[in-house]
Symmetry: D2
């Protein structure tokens, strides 16, 4: 019998880094988590324990902190591209580098319409993410948004679906639509200002969600993805994961009361899970 090592990778995950950007009249705070992963000529590490080509994951961590001083000055995308290139160019044994970045949002405090120079409140579960994959022949960049919780109280229905012997769900033309989105889009070329583009795409996604007359989660997912491709020429592919966090009407009739779409059981599990990728042809 012969076995073979197939796809493999190694790296350091969850490198939590914060940086103060000291401007003349105020501070910015950046707070990120970085993942680094390498692929390459690592068969001998696995098969005979030869570490001579292994850059330790501890060194990857140190490198991220050290390079952040001069090179984490703008978007996470720009920092990730720098890191990917650094690891690739300093390690001939490496065929591809993957950098994943997550930025936690800190919103500047404001008092009497005046932004505070150095105090912040956490912006919530929603996070800006970026993924860079660099190999010898090129680099792919995707950006995204994760843990974005959005909800609309109407303009959402679900009807005319298959009924079989196990169907108990009632059709509705008016339900709560609540989802914790994880959305990633791929750029055909590196954009000049990825942070501004991220903010514009985020707003476009929210607007599509809010204004859509939804006949299903799939229907809205597609509308959101298509809108991004239409408005942003540098995006050539978008994948949306939109779990359906069900708000189930509570049965008030059993107590002689009416539930006019007012009172709901907010559930976490089980949840619908809808995913789709829209591409530019």
């Amino acid at each position: 019998m012969v076995t073979r090592l197939d796809k493999n990778a190694y790296g350091k995950n969850a490198i939590k880094l914060s940086k103060i950007i000291r401007r003349p009249d105020c501070h910015d705070i950046r707070h990120i988590s970085v993942d680094v992963a390498l692929e390459g000529d690592f068969d001998a590490v696995h098969t005979i324990g030869d570490n001579s080509k292994v850059l330790p994951t501890d060194t990857m961590k140190n490198t991220v902190y050290a390079l952040a001083k001069d090179h984490f000055t703008h978007s996470i995308e720009a920092f990730g591209l720098y890191l990917a290139n650094y690891f690739l160019s300093h390690n001939p044994q490496v065929s591809s580098v993957h950098i994943g970045l997550t930025e936690y949002t800190w919103a500047r405090m404001t008092f009497d319409d005046t932004p505070h120079p150095h105090s912040f409140v956490n912006g919530g579960s929603e996070k800006h993410i970026a993924h860079i994959t660099s190999h010898r022949l090129g680099t792919q960049l995707s950006s995204g948004i994760t843990d974005l919780l959005i909800l609309k109280t109407t303009d959402s229905g679900f009807e005319h679906y298959i009924k079989d012997k196990f169907t108990t769900l009632k059709e509705t033309d008016d339900r709560i639509f609540s989802t914790q989105c994880d959305i990633n889009w791929q750029y055909s070329e590196i954009p000049p200002d990825p942070e501004a583009l991220y903010q514009a795409i985020r707003l476009d996604l929210l607007h599509s969600f809010a204004s859509h007359k939804s006949l299903s989660v799939q229907h809205t997912l597609h509308a959101m993805g298509e809108a991004v491709l239409k408005t942003f020429p540098s995006v050539n592919e978008i994948t949306l994961k939109m779990p359906n966090k069900h708000h189930i009407p509570f049965n008030l009739q059993q107590f002689g009361m009416d539930n006019n779409n007012e009172i709901f059981i907010a559930t976490d599990e089980p949840y619908g899970y809808i995913t789709g990728t829209i591409i530019r042809e």
Copy 2:
């Protein structure tokens, strides 16, 4: 040997409820979690399994959903007070009722400065909480804020502390101050508009945190609590839990670089844990 049943309670936790408030021109979404606990004449339940005085926790849950229709119309405090009174007045065997409420924040989406009538984005980890304890002789109400993540990049130091043989911490007059607050305050009387008061106290807490020249977490904790007592006469006690989420300067010197308070390791564990109660005399 004789044993005795001492303090005991039972109830239902994590009753997740959402409600759409349908206004003429827009919808509001309310999303809460309710805990109900009863104390009273329950010795026989424990000792001989006599359930004749037990209101099932399943019924508590149904009651919360049913009463939400007509009575969850304003603040969580008002709904909690109604629930506490309902359970107390309908259950003579009960000596005290505790209601705990947590409200998840949904912020209305806004496009071109126009608030959207029915779409929302989750407001983050920060949650408004309330606790009501009602017994035959009276009712206590406390409100609070939990999972409030705040951070300031300067105006915070820690110096002149005890040094002993296990001391390695370096003194600093300029560090990041980051904390995930859990703050509760007690009202001497039921306020007429608990939601407005909550918002005002929250803003006061943020302002105290932002403007304080902090010599320690304790120092700022005390300033925040004292400010609330000074500004809000209906608050007679406030307890603050302010874990210190350390941002530790990364040692760049080992690589021949300077770290001018720029690059930090953002840590979750271990964490400082600071708590204090300030009362009005």
Copy 3:
């Protein structure tokens, strides 16, 4: 207006420590989390930022690691008692020390009935905990078990409870009883071998749970607590928190099938929450 600082404390939480005990023929692994909290003469820290009496939480952390070398050799209770005494005797400004300890369970791997000398598999969610509070006049020790998930498939019912207009729960004399226990007991005197006693009390709790004909969660909670007090003279008080993790019979009748207590929806939320303290008189 005059305010006053009331109860306050500070310390370091989640000090994660592992230790290898090197025996002649095998290794033991100990893996714990330690919390340290101090109370005392700390008013000036809060009110004027005077840190001269503050032992930094970073130093507490260092102290725990350093003292573990020679003094974490047996039970977590013994180590906690040593730590409490150390902090109290070295800090005259401190009036009381609280030490909380959690031990993660690692079970030795066994192959062909032979225990492996140095390999372990994690023993699950269940954890041994201990709490020590030392002040100038004495010390209290409590031990406990947390996140103990236990389940019985029969000998559990719930009947003859109050019915009102919001009742929908059906009586049953045969249901699943599943709970994630958090149990703490207080010792009247420091036991000579807290680890052995912990194991004996744990087994007694499991046995009471398994053999009880349960008429309610309260009924079983009481039986478990009473059994511990009866069997272990050094325990003078026990508090049990036993949330009811409901397994709800799935309605198969709607599909023309019978559910003879076979198929259940396993739920996490909402959950019944039952707590009680049993004391020796």
Copy 4:
């Protein structure tokens, strides 16, 4: 501009189900979570909101509970295969069905070497998983184990790696090796008794981990995977994810003490992340 819907799927996740198997002299408890996902002719759902080919995720949930009565009687693999075939054969619009199953482990309580007939204690974080993908031309089955926490206190080193200007890690020939494994293997044919095979493979994995002289995580990962392929002919591919949960020696020297590989800081983040796939050629 033309866009196109690419890969898409929908289903229901986290269907939590428990079942009592009633044997003559004892009960078994089974506790699982099921995910269902469908792919197929669903373009019109996305593009024009035509739900006529949509089997609602609520119906999937009902179907899982209903079919569990007669068809969840042995392994999760067998139940998953039945479910996959059911959804595929009843839904001509579907091209492929994915079923994911997770089984929570409940260990029977034992008193005085006698197994208890109906009481159980949760077996911990470790879970048996299975994935089935069925399409019109065939079915793939993979089984696995997730959240398996294993640790060895010696026979593990890491030396002779690359040193560069950001290297601070010290070489060691004796360190703690701790990992939370996620391991999946693919069967070339459906095994007659997947549960027995799972238990045998699990034991083989533990044994490889325990007995290996590890020169790196990669080295041990490869040895574990290769051993499975060698011993179990029906396995043709195995993927191991073995994050390195670092136990870092605490610096006791700064206090004039020696740390002879005894006292460690047990960390969760950042963590090494090592993954590899071994295949049979």
